[in-house]
């Protein structure tokens, strides 16, 4: 789904809610995944200048999980270490978006090239 404006952030939360319910996440796990998706989709819209979210329900052995990709063709992040520091912000936020959403999921990967864009992948297992 595309993430172009504020309305899409709301749509993204609803989509992730449906997906987490579909694979029967507990309420706390649903809430964590939706909150992480909310933070990352806002980053895509506000800092990445828009982009898209892709999703996949993944299986590994007997466990099931949800993997989400947030991808933009924005300015990229020059210093990932800094961007992942609590309290650091390039905008007007509280600086917990990236670092905080990393704590809400089991796997977190960020690929970014300055001038080309950013892709954040998160996975949470049931």
């Amino acid at each position: 789904m595309s993430l172009l404006g504020e309305r899409d952030i709301v749509m993204c939360r609803q989509m992730v809610r449906r997906l987490t319910q579909q694979i029967k996440f507990t309420l706390v796990d649903q809430t964590k995944m939706i909150t992480a998706a909310s933070e990352l989709s806002r980053n895509t819209v506000v800092y990445g200048g828009g982009g898209e979210m892709r999703w996949e329900i993944v299986a590994q052995g007997i466990r099931t999980g949800l993997r989400l990709w947030f991808e933009d063709k924005g300015p990229g992040i020059p210093d990932i270490g800094l961007a992942l520091t609590d309290g650091w912000t390039s905008g007007s936020g509280m600086g917990v978006g990236l670092s905080g959403s990393r704590r809400l999921v089991n796997e977190f990967e960020i690929r970014t090239v300055v001038g080309e864009g950013t892709c954040v992948t998160i996975t949470r297992w049931k």
Binding site: V10, R13, Q30, T31, I34, T35, V96, R103
Partner: protein, 123 residues
């Protein structure tokens, strides 16, 4: 743009957030509330978030900022009804909602504001 209704009950402004908030709506609430505090001279603000399924950093910041603005305008803010799953997530996300007073439900929140009102020395 939709707006969140603000009800006045005595000296308290009551806000119940029942929709999945778009960022601009959250910002609108902040402006509307500050204007209403000034107009009505309310000395308490009660924000019921029991219907909110998530609180992310944006909404968290809005709550903290409303509380801060209200304090400067001589009103006390209490946020009530946070779902346990939301509280767990919020703490893990790293938001402490510093300076924001909370209560378990509307009843306790109103009681808190009533005590606060009685302790005021201005009237």
């Amino acid at each position: 743009m939709e707006r969140i209704p603000i009800l006045k009950m005595g000296r308290v402004l009551l806000v119940t957030i029942q929709v999945d908030l778009q960022d601009q709506v959250a910002l609108g609430l902040q402006d509307d509330l500050s204007a209403r505090i000034e107009q009505t001279g309310a000395n308490g603000v009660l924000i019921d978030i029991s219907a909110l399924e998530i609180v992310d950093s944006f909404v968290g910041r809005m709550l903290a900022s409303i509380s801060g603005i209200a304090t400067v305008l001589d009103a006390t803010t209490v946020v009530v009804g946070m779902q346990p799953a939301v509280a767990i997530t919020l703490v893990e996300l790293g938001l402490s909602l510093e300076g924001v007073r909370t209560a378990l439900n509307v009843e306790r929140g109103m009681a808190m504001l009533a005590v606060d009102d009685r302790n005021r020395i201005d009237d």
